[in-house]
């Protein structure tokens, strides 16, 4: 068969278009599946302030957390290490505060934790990837890899990260051998009890709360308790204007 030059160029052109079209279809298909495959787990917590305030001066969640994670109790505010702590309402929600705010919220402490943000600034600044976002939403820390540069401490808008200025062990009341302590020169914060989640247990603070004011669950499951609560109650998040997308919701 003899092929003219015109015929050859026609076949060549059509083949090229076919190859390109196949690639385009493939890429579009991949994008569509990527968009539909949302994470199967997205841990979140809803904090019911009204229930939390029922028992005045209750610190059960804090002591349970401290005990579980060997958190040192250092009273000096320059050196203190906090995983869960209390903060006045106007400091937790500065943009929600006004001089005529509901009496129930005035001078009432709010329990604050690491927010396990969807777009965590601490993760973005960490130079060693010692902190990163897990697929299940937990902002995790690898204390082996932390070099103590404290960029994350500066980056976190919620003050959720504490630095160990000295060896914390003398300040730990009861040592828990199942969890490591930290050492001098390492940053630490709430880990959403990932070590308990791995065993299928709820976070220690959630288990310890006598009023069940802390509800922990999976946002990716529409029928989960947290999703039900979020649908039925009005909740606020800390400083949403920053775009960090916290996974802790406060029902005030």
């Amino acid at each position: 068969m003899k092929m003219t030059r015109k015929r050859f160029l026609e076949i060549g052109g059509v083949s090229l278009i076919a190859v390109a079209a196949k690639k385009v279809v493939g890429a579009l298909g991949n994008e569509a599946t990527a968009r539909s495959s949302a994470p199967a787990t997205r841990w979140a917590m809803v904090i019911d302030s009204a229930k939390c305030h029922k028992k005045d001066g209750c610190t059960d969640c804090i002591s349970a957390c401290n005990k579980t994670h060997n958190v040192p109790v250092i009273k000096d505010s320059l050196h203190e290490v906090k995983w869960i702590w209390k903060e006045p309402f106007e400091n937790v929600f500065p943009s929600q505060n006004n001089p005529y705010i509901e009496v129930a919220l005035q001078n009432k402490p709010v329990m604050v934790f690491c927010n396990h943000c969807d777009s965590p600034p601490c993760v973005r600044v960490c130079p060693t990837q010692a902190t990163w976002k897990r697929e299940d939403g937990i902002v995790m820390m690898d204390w082996h890899r932390c070099i103590g540069c404290r960029y994350c401490v500066a980056a976190c808008p919620y003050g959720s990260r504490s630095f160990n200025w000295f060896d914390p062990r003398p300040y730990i009341t009861t040592l828990n051998a199942d969890f490591p302590t930290r050492t001098k020169g390492v940053v630490e914060k709430c880990n959403f009890c990932e070590e308990r989640l791995a065993l299928g247990q709820p976070p220690a603070c959630v288990a310890a709360c006598p009023e069940k004011a802390l509800v922990f669950g999976n946002l990716a499951v529409p029928r989960s308790e947290v999703r039900q609560l979020l649908q039925s109650r009005y909740t606020i998040r800390r400083r949403p204007e920053l775009g960090t997308e916290p996974n802790l919701f406060y029902s005030v």
């Binding site: 250092i74 000096d76 690898d142 062990r169 009341t173």
Partner: protein, 170 residues
């Protein structure tokens, strides 16, 4: 050549001094002694064959560390089909295995002068066992890890007396 006596005496003293460590160890009978770690009495098989553990336990522990912390994997399938939980204090130092870190880890490590940072954070369960009293174990720990005065700062020094662990130590 009148100084011959002085020179030889000096040489002898010099040789004696530089070989002193050898004489000392010979006299104490420590030269031929190995580290003699205390092996578990109940459990006969570690998570990997003995030869591998002897040479590569550090690599295994690093792999465990990365698997647990970075990949959220917690169980380890051993060569003999057994499954272990990848925990330093919970599995390696568990009852029936290397219950005494001082008699197992430390003996070899001190002998070989290899210092590890594992125990800066990971807790030797011995320190928390009620044998020495739950609270006093923490106190013992506290006195073993004193905060250097220079690192505490003014504020920390002021509150040191209020910290329960330190209070007990006094």
């Amino acid at each position: 050549m009148r100084d011959r006596g002085v020179i030889y005496t000096g040489l002898l003293i010099f040789l004696g001094l530089i070989t002193f460590p050898v004489w000392h160890d010979l006299a104490a009978g420590t030269t031929s002694r190995g580290p003699e770690p205390v092996l578990p009495t109940q459990e006969k098989q570690c998570v990997a064959p003995r030869e591998f553990m002897r040479t590569s336990h550090m690599h295994l522990l690093m792999d465990w560390r990365d698997a647990v912390v970075r990949h959220n994997e917690h169980s380890f399938k051993a060569f003999n089909g057994k499954t272990y939980s990848m925990r330093l204090a919970g599995t390696c130092l568990a009852s029936g295995c290397h219950t005494n870190k001082a008699d197992f880890c430390d003996r070899c490590h001190n002998y070989a002068a290899v210092s590890v940072t594992c125990w800066d954070c990971h807790v030797d369960p011995k320190l928390t066992r009620p044998a020495s009293g739950g609270a006093s174990a923490a106190v013992a720990e506290a006195s073993r890890f004193p905060v250097p005065e220079a690192e505490r700062g003014q504020g920390a020094r002021a509150i040191a007396g209020q910290t329960p662990a330190l209070q007990g130590a006094k």
